[in-house]
């Protein structure tokens, strides 16, 4: 495996870990309630701002 391959493999692993962190922890997953606005997780985070859809 060349340095070039190592670089890309490392970048892909970091990207996958970041995607995992972002979708699970930062975005609190994604459940049917998010779109239907019956799930409180996002509501709590956007309470301060005006929200419309």
């Amino acid at each position: 495996m060349s340095w070039y391959d190592l670089f890309w493999a490392g970048a892909i692993i970091v990207g996958a870990i970041y995607l995992l962190y972002r979708s699970i922890w930062k975005k609190r997953g994604f459940c049917p309630g998010c779109d239907a606005h019956t799930c409180g997780s996002r509501q709590q985070k956007t309470d301060k701002g005006e929200k419309s859809w």
């Binding site: 997953g29 019956t38 997780s41």
Partner: protein
Amino acid sequence: MSQAAVKLAHPEPAKVLTVAVAGNPNSGKSTLINGLAGTRLQVGNWPGVTVEKKEATLEFQGRRVRLVDLPGTYSLSPYSEEEVIARDYLVEARPDVILNVVDATNLERNLYLTVQMLELGLPVVMALNIYDEARNKGWEINPALIEETLGIKVIPTVATKKEGLTALMEAVLEVGDNPEAHAPRPLNYGQDLEAAVVEVDKEIRLHSPALVERYPARWLALKLLESDPRIVEETGLGTGSFISRAAKHLKEAHGDDIESLLGDARYAQASGLTREVLKKKTTTKRELTEKIDRIVLHRFLGIPIFLAAMWVMFKLTFDVSNPYADWMNGLVTGPLKRWAEALLGLVAAPDWTVSLATEGVLAGVGFVIVFIPVIFAMMFFITFLEGSGYMARAAFVMDRAMHSMGLHGKSFIPLLLGFGCNVPAVYATRTLENPRDKILTALLIPLMSCGARLPVYVLFAGAFFPGRAGTAIWSLYVMGIVMAVLVGILFKKTLFKGENPLFIMELPPYRMPTLKSLMIHTWEKGKHFLIKAGTYILAVSVLVWFLLNLPWGVEQKKDSYLGQAGTVIAPVFKPLGFGNWEAASSLVTGVIAKEIVVGTMGEIYLPKEKKAEDEKPPTFLEDLQEIGVSFLSATKQAGENVISSFGVAKLSAEEKEETKPLKKVIQGAFTPLSAYAFMAFVLLYMPCMIVAVAFRDEFGTWKWFGVAFAYQMVLAWGVALVIYQGGRLLGLGG
């Protein structure tokens, strides 16, 4: 209402007219807002769908209107979270108009809330909703008489058909622009009560004039008289002052406490008005809903009917969706794989990236996507049951069973939500008043089998129980419910001792959900599985591929990092019948999301394909043609499955004829008994990471997730052990 008249817009606070949409649960508030603003708030023919207040903004006749959808409540007392949210908003935010959505088929009960809203003195417009059903029952309601009596605008509406919405918005604008001209008529609660209100109001103005600015005056006086705990606390006006004098006088005069007196006065208003404005045709014919309920809610038949309804749902889910799942499987393992290889070949990508794309991403994500038709079919039937009104009956039937064993009946509503996804179900526990009940219910929710576990069941049940796959899946859902009841009883007798509050559940009339509404809500429920596939399932598939290929150049998957870790854990599962590293590794990655169990198995079990030298791959056009033809064939197969006696025999024959690669491999790695023990383990073992985060969000601590994790691991291991070892003792195989 035409789309030209109403369109979504970004709010501009200076011009916005704020309208609070309030009413009883299941009166159609969310449907009304959806009809007005073209939004997609979740609706369901059962109470308690809206937990928090939600907002939508629309433009009507050049005016911007902000609609605030409040949770459905039966009163404005401060005893449940929904009531507190609705009441606080009306009192503190003082919207320009209250849009009171009234269910015309339940007039008296809905008017009880209207009477309380009028106490606030804010302008009210009444949407007399579900008017068509009242008319169909032969009822005659006189909206003009309600207007005259209460001094508010009353507009008959049918939100589901968007009837009366333009007139309703016109009334809202008229009232919002001229609030003084449309102030509601004060209701008279009787001489003594009115005298007490005047006395208390006078004293408040004298001693605490600032409070009159903060609260509507009449409402404040009434709340203080009935010793509303929140208002007493907020105002600091306790019972040792002029209020207690007035209250004592009333009690002496009527021999009853003020809360009961006021309740009676409000009921008298609602009941009297209903008698005046509603004319019912006298009929001896029992209505359809009541007729059905006599059977569905029967003391002994109720639970068997519920279980039968679930069985039919799983049967149909499996029969309808399985041909499409097979079609998706062919798509993923055939054309998509070839196209990915061809594209990467075009850019001269290194071999390992081709392997990552096909044996990592496509095998991992692809094998989850294959089950998307199954998940959508399941969500369709759940949406149908919700919309038809049966889900509320299911809660009622189970409530009786659960309550008799010491569990809180209202808890069953979040538990039912858990069948779709456990995450919103955990958040829905906030509708429960008692913190102990909230935690207990949240702890039981992961035992409800969510849609994410379905791919595992469909794969294993299809491979090991052909012809009885629907029944096998159904038995797992029932197992989840039974375990929830048993664990609930155990917790209630140990960690969560206490009284069970009374639970009153409204049973809505049966309705046939519209196809459009079914489609929209099926999509809303199902699409997050697609998003999951594109986010964390993709990420885990990539990481699993690396773990299966590190140290670099590893020959056997068993010697990879994942294989080594799986080998260390595997002995734990040996007594359960699946003590191999492949199953152990899949269970570990499945803690991120349960579908990943299948994705990981796809990556582990599928061997590298060796292409024959002389094999000529089909062209792109041939692939497209094959996709179209196989899709039509799947549609035909699904139709035949439903029509021909639910298609059991037919489906099993298909399965035997053409066993899919992953099924074939797991048939070699498991026995029917160990496969069932494995499915039970997947059902019961720890909640996924997203549920863990929901626990942390809702309860502010990891402690309760820790409790769920610990008891579920023990339970899953114990149940799988009993199934496997018990089955062996009974001679059901090894």
